[in-house]
């Protein structure tokens, strides 16, 4: 039996539709606030596309979001909701910065070690939550959220610690130049002073992840547990072991995201006055990316570009929060895309029925 595959069967079209609706809702809000949406959006897009430098910046902005997006998407595969990417991102940043400040290694090696430290810190942060889940049955969503706050205050404590804190400002010292991931050779070409290896690292991670999920026995076990814990256990796959590993890997990915951000962009960590939200935004990225690793690259790029372009909206007196509203609307509509699907399918069915009725009427 052959069935026609219509574009309305897949998910991609609904993501695109949701994005369009997101922009429409944003436009309505802008109009009601007395701001010209045409001007706002053209500023937004010009801020992203009008110069090569801007485009490069969009890529630089995207890298950490791709990582937290991957982290959340990966956790979804085993049926876990990693709402703790925020905390894992923070401890990853912290580990990378500490090794970046105090480590003494040659270039290339130094950032590598920073990355390993960040990955380990993120993985540990995720694994502890996993351990509590499988040993004591503690709901991971609760402990993830609590661990976000623990990471937040831990970071603030360490940042203000003597020896770590920079003089006269509320941040850590800068990491050593040898630890930075900035690609100096590309600065003159692109005109972007913060062009760094982050996007490449994130892309490699995404491809690796795709491979692991699709092609390996480990990925097989992950998906089996995610889709049916009971059938996996019957088949001899230990679901607790899989939960532990996948939660650790998910944490590791967010941790690497933290290293990408700190070693590539700021070079230090400020004292936080609120959660930075890289991890939470990862949920958005994962959902826009259809929880697929490759999808996360594009979703991360979209998100990064919107964040970067949004910074320029103040030039036309439009609030940059409009970007958040657009993103929120997009997620809202992706979440209810099932409803979309049903409505469209229903309309198609009605059309078919009508055509049939007409044909029958003609025959009669």
């Amino acid at each position: 039996m052959k069935t026609k595959v219509s574009i309305w069967d897949g998910n991609f079209i609904y993501v695109i539709l949701s994005i369009i609706v997101g922009f429409l809702v944003g436009a309505i809000l802008l109009v009601s606030a007395g701001i010209d949406p045409g001007l706002t959006y053209s500023t937004l897009f010009q801020g992203i596309f009008s110069r090569p430098k801007y485009i490069v910046y969009a890529f630089v902005y995207a890298a950490p979001y791709i990582m937290t997006g991957l982290s959340v998407a990966f956790s979804f595969k085993t049926g876990v909701f990693n709402i703790g990417a925020e905390g894992q991102f923070v401890v990853g940043s912290l580990a990378a910065v500490l090794v970046g400040i105090f480590g003494n290694f040659p270039p290339v090696i130094h950032p590598l070690i920073c990355f390993v430290a960040a990955a380990a810190a993120g993985a540990a942060w995720g694994a502890v939550v996993g351990l509590m889940k499988i040993k004591r049955g503690i709901n991971e969503v609760l402990s993830y959220i609590m661990f976000n706050w623990i990471a937040y205050y831990l970071s603030n404590y360490v940042v203000m610690h003597k020896g770590v804190k920079a003089q006269s400002i509320e941040t850590t010292k800068n990491v050593k130049d040898s630890a930075r991931t900035i690609i100096k050779g590309l600065i003159p070409v692109t005109g972007c002073t913060e062009v760094n290896a982050g996007f490449f690292i994130a892309t490699i991670c995404a491809i690796l992840l795709w491979f692991v999920i699709k092609k390996t026995t480990f990925g097989y076990q992950l998906r089996a547990v995610g889709l049916s814990k009971t059938a996996s256990e019957y088949g001899g796959i230990s679901s607790s072991r899989i939960f532990m590993t996948s939660m650790a890997i998910s944490g590791m990915l967010a941790g690497i995201g933290g290293a990408i951000q700190t070693l590539g962009m700021s070079g230090r960590i400020p004292q936080f006055s609120g959660q930075e939200s890289f991890g939470f935004d990862g949920i958005t990225v994962a959902l826009i990316g259809g929880t697929d690793p490759i999808g996360c690259i594009f979703a991360g790029l979209f998100y990064g570009a919107m964040k970067y372009g949004g910074n320029k909206l103040t030039l036309v007196n439009a609030p940059k929060e409009i970007v958040n509203i657009i993103m929120g609307t997009i997620i809202f509509f992706i979440a209810i895309s099932l409803l979309f699907k049903r409505i469209i399918k229903g309309v198609q069915q009605k059309k078919l029925d009508k055509a049939k009725e007409l044909a029958e009427a003609k025959e009669a």
């Binding site: 039996m1 026995t217 076990q221 889709l227 049916s228 996996s232 019957y234 088949g235 230990s238």
Partner: protein, 515 residues
């Protein structure tokens, strides 16, 4: 016409004419006619997915037909939902009971149709009415008992009372005997008689041919959405019915040669276990299965069968006892270790345990064996080898549709899902095969298939433990039958010497004299 039939052929109760129901391109009901008279028992017979449930859902107002018309009591009607169906006097008793466990029988029956006295529910009046109904039709229930405390048979009677309480004159019973003991089935047949005597018409959906020949006046056979025929049950036999249902000759008798069992494979001694509430569920169970024999474990649901199988496959831990496979201790070992030690199983719940429903058929075929060198090297799956392996099994076990390896298990029919599991477990070729309710919900053709492979395993010298609530299945397949009651074996008979009555008594906890 049967002598004791209560059917009044001059009064039409239900008439469905040329019912067509399509889902997209798929036609579930293709011009089906059904006519049920007053006081008639009308069976509907068909394989899984033949369209029986769709037809009944059309009658009950859950689906709207694309074509065709319905008449109730001679009047054309349009049934827009279950509420309207109930108003027209149609009542449906579902296969899976829809009762609230901590509520009493009375509370469950009046739920949604509570009689009121002022602003309070008139429970006393309701109770009186229920007792009257239950006396009238021989539906023995305790109106004050909680559902969780009463037997499955009584729960079913509560379900029937529920529809009668709402004034049903036309009853649809969907697979009503699937979880009843033989005695309870006899009682149900008696109840159906009483209902028709009172002029009620009964539509009986069932797989069991014996029940049709016993209880029904007419039988409508549906195959692949099309109506095959409506026959007078008196004029046909079971073989004819089965043939009309599947469209070919069906082998009922399982071809099984006498064979001396070999040495012990599975040895269970004094097994004790508690369920999740901490209640003793196995109380010192002893069980042996030898090479080349099928041991049937008969019993009413809830006497420890599920727990025994879970313990034997490593999904649950026991308190104490001894379990060995060919001398190897497997007591409280992990599923993987037990599998390696020589136990494969066809689980009770194929969608929960047997298959990852959103995996493809290919992925499901390697559920225990993904790490074997044939299917993966250095942790990387060999998709080609898996596809080839699956295609071979799809051919050998006639899993349909052909070439479904890349389809999700969810997209297969129930019978074909079971075939996937059987193909996998039989190919595992372990010393012991445990099969729990392996034919539940399957049609005659698929049942025949499952039985064939169980016997083949036995003939090859494997040990087979068959746990089933279907006595017919146990009796036709087993070399030896152990009856489980209250967590221990309550009696053993040779398969060839078993009869339903004796087994029924033992299943209910009674003892049968040896002489």
């Amino acid at each position: 016409m049967k002598k004791d039939s209560n059917a009044d052929m001059s009064v039409e109760a239900i008439r469905m004419k040329g019912i067509v129901k399509r889902f997209g391109n798929f036609t579930a009901n293709d011009h089906i006619n059904l006519c049920v008279h007053k006081g008639e028992v009308h069976a509907i017979l068909g394989e899984n997915g033949a369209g029986k449930s769709t037809l009944m859902n059309v009658l009950y107002g859950i689906y709207q037909p694309n074509e065709g018309s319905i008449e109730i009591d001679g009047k054309p009607v349009k049934i827009n939902g279950p509420e309207e169906a109930i108003k027209l006097g149609i009542g449906m008793v579902h296969q899976h009971f829809m009762l609230i466990q901590p509520f009493t029988v009375t509370e469950n029956i009046i739920l949604g149709a509570e009689p009121k006295k002022g602003i309070v529910v008139d429970k006393v009046g309701a109770r009186k009415k229920i007792v009257e109904l239950s006396d009238k039709y021989g539906l023995k229930v305790d109106p004050d008992a909680k559902i969780e405390d009463i037997s499955v048979g009584m729960q079913q009677r509560v379900e029937i009372l529920k529809v009668l309480y709402r004034g049903a004159r036309h009853l649809i019973l969907d697979e009503p005997t699937s979880s009843l003991t033989p005695q309870e089935i006899t009682e149900l047949m008696e109840i159906i008689k009483n209902l028709t005597k009172d002029g009620k018409s009964v539509i009986l959906i069932t797989h069991k041919l014996k029940e049709i020949t016993e209880a029904a006046d007419f039988c409508t056979i549906i195959r692949q959405g099309k109506m095959v025929d409506t026959v007078e049950v008196d004029k046909v036999d079971e073989n004819k019915l089965a043939e009309m249902m599947v469209g070919r000759d069906v082998q009922f008798k399982v071809d099984k040669k006498e064979q001396e069992p070999g040495e012990v494979v599975l040895d269970v001694e004094d097994l004790k276990a508690k369920d999740y509430r901490g209640v003793e569920i196995l109380n010192g169970l002893n069980l042996k299965v030898h090479k080349g024999e099928i041991v049937g474990l008969a019993g009413v649901d809830g006497n420890g069968q599920s727990e025994l199988v879970e313990i034997l496959t490593g999904l649950m831990k026991a308190e104490s006892g001894k379990i060995t496979i060919e001398g190897k201790d497997i007591f409280n070992k992990k599923p993987k270790e037990i599998f390696e030690d020589g136990v494969s199983s066809i689980p009770e719940d194929r969608q929960k345990h047997g298959l990852v429903m959103d995996f493809t058929v290919e992925e499901n075929m390697i559920l225990q064996n993904y790490a074997k060198p044939e299917f993966s090297k250095h942790g990387i799956l060999n998709r080609d080898a898996i596809a080839k392996f699956t295609d071979k099994l799809i051919d050998k076990f006639d899993i349909r549709p052909k070439g479904c390896g890349k389809r999700l298990a969810r997209q297969l029919s129930g019978g074909n899902q079971q075939k996937v599991i059987i193909a996998r477990e039989v190919t595992n070729d372990k010393d012991l095969l445990i099969a729990m309710n392996p034919t539940r919900g399957l049609d005659v053709g698929a049942i025949e298939f499952v039985h064939k492979y169980l016997v083949e395993q036995r003939n090859k010298g494997r040990a087979v433990l068959l746990v089933s609530f279907e006595l017919d299945e146990i009796m036709s397949l087993s070399d030896r039958i152990d009856v489980i009651f209250d967590g221990r074996i309550n009696g053993t008979v040779k398969g060839s010497e078993a009869n339903e009555k004796e087994l029924g008594i033992m299943m209910a906890g009674g003892k049968v004299d040896e002489n």
